[in-house]
Symmetry: C2
Subunit: 330 residues, 2 copies
């Protein structure tokens, strides 16, 4: 056990060093000869989260071949997936037409949106540029296929805005495309770069997809029921944007005609206390528990897929990362 | 001469066939299993213009090796540059809050800014996906480098919004990055795919950059002085968006302190007749002629670079395409 602890500490040290290198690579790749571009790109610092996707590339690489060191391709691809993820965050933040028309005197906001569109494009462009530095086209092809699907997911979500009839299969389609494919491909790329067999690559991609799906379900639950001081961002954003998510889809399906109608009217009211009332309505049923169960099932399945890997500290980390998805409160 | 005419007709026939194939490839690559995505992508039809960039790929390929047929790489890259161009149009319209494009409503107007942002992302993602189907990374690397630069150009332009001190060097920086690098790289890719020597590739890239610069200057002149029924899009948009372009930069530099101040106040007034008044002020000087001369000089230089190519109908087409840039009224 002492030995295992030591190995674990060693792995954590490797990961910390590699992630710091990814951060540096990220910044150096984006550097421009234009000061205005560097200033704008500097704002991305505040977008940086837990670096889940680069971590998946690196840990899946190590879990696939525990005796081999990570190679340049792992670092490149870890940086690429972080760029892709950041690009989706930046474009996600762009407001819709209605908000733009309401801009009135808020010219700053408008300029912010325009710069956000271009900064997202700049990120995605640099992601492909960096990816094209690798010897093989295989990774570039996978990443581009993934971003095709992410865009489709975003468009499907847009198409279902204000659709109060949204059903579970469509909800799962949306989150698979917009979130899970990128975590899945991150895992596959890590395994591929370590020379993983087709079976291992497939299992780890599936692990990543299940984990991404669970992550998104929990994210959606927290948006409805979280504690704003813990979550650290405005709650009820999904509903405000006309996006139904799993707990409410489940609750609405369970309600009878009149109750359902009442709930929809309340959601539509744009009352500032709406999110509180929705929280109460959700508390009356088991829909939040249902959504959490959906996430837990996926995490359990994801962990099961790791049985095919040799025991290693990296495999242990993948298991803990999966558990952390459902444990998180923010 | 009869023979030349015959060869020309043959070339035109080849080009028409190849461009039709590019259009088909464009549509088939974008096809999705989601109806909402296909519906949105369908709007792109109306964005299709003269297909300048794919034409440059194809004609530069033929001009580099007149005896060789075009190959798959030419068709793939012609489709890729059209996708990249379309993506910039779609995102440009979001940035400019443009309502009209080629006499039709823009996607941001029809479907909202969010759908337009995502559709642009979808296009750029598919461009890289298609590009990654080629054997070599060389083209992907060039295209990604080019899109890095295009984004920088857009950001430099944004940064200079409402900058009434904008000077000519910065103006030329902006249009080189946002317009000319893509026409330049289109030409290089065509030459490369025909096995052109480094010198030919470089000359044709430069030809494309000069042509793209001339094209943008003429575009900017038309935005200030064109006939809306001929140009097919809202005029005076550049000024409304705080973008100074060559004729006005030149005119403002020639004006004395008070006249200059008056002109700037008028531009800033957002008076609906502003564009008319600016037109009158421009007519009082030779700034429009100056801007046109700048375009003509570049076209002349571009044509001179073609001397290194063997005589062929394709080379003749490149000469005529350069001439057409300054002849156009829309």
């Amino acid at each position: 056990m002492v030995l295992l602890g030591e190995h674990q500490a060693e792995l954590d040290g490797i990961l910390a060093g590699e992630l710091a290198a990814v951060e540096q690579r990220f910044a150096s790749e984006l550097r421009s000869d234009l000061p205005c571009v560097n200033e704008l790109a500097g704002h991305l610092e505040q977008y940086r989260g837990k670096m889940l996707r680069p971590t998946l590339v690196l840990v899946c690489g190590l879990a696939t071949a525990p005796e081999q060191p990570l190679v340049e391709a792992h670092r490149v691809l870890a940086t690429v997936v972080e760029m892709v993820h950041m690009a989706t965050l930046v474009h996600d933040d762009v407001l819709d037409d209605q908000d733009l028309r309401r801009k009135g005197s808020t010219i700053n906001r408008l300029q912010g949106n325009e710069a956000a569109v271009m900064l997202g494009d700049y990120l995605i462009s640099h992601a492909y540029h960096l990816c094209a530095s690798l010897d093989s086209q295989a990774a570039a092809r996978l990443i581009a296929m993934c971003t095709n699907t992410v865009c489709e997911g975003e468009l499907l979500q847009l198409d279902n805005r204000d659709n109060w009839e949204l059903d579970e299969p469509t909800y799962f389609q949306i989150i698979r495309r917009k979130t899970a494919v990128l975590t899945g491909v991150s895992c596959r790329l890590g395994a591929m770069s370590s020379g993983g067999s087709p079976e291992i690559c497939q299992r780890l991609e599936r692990y990543g997809e299940l984990m991404g799906t669970a992550f998104q379900i929990v994210d959606d639950v927290l948006d409805l029921t979280g504690d704003v001081s813990v979550v650290g961002k405005t709650l009820g954003k999904d509903l405000e944007k006309g996006k139904l998510t799993l707990p409410l889809i489940h609750r609405l399906a369970a309600l009878g005609g009149e109750d359902r109608q009442q709930m929809l009217e309340m959601i539509d009211s744009h009352d500032p206390r709406m999110i509180e009332q929705v929280g109460q309505l959700l508390a009356e049923g088991d829909s939040v528990a249902y959504a959490r169960r959906c996430a837990e099932q996926r995490v359990a399945e994801a962990k099961g897929l790791l049985d095919a890997l040799p025991p290693s500290p990296a495999r242990g980390t993948l298991i803990r990362m999966a558990d952390a998805v459902i444990a998180r409160q923010f």
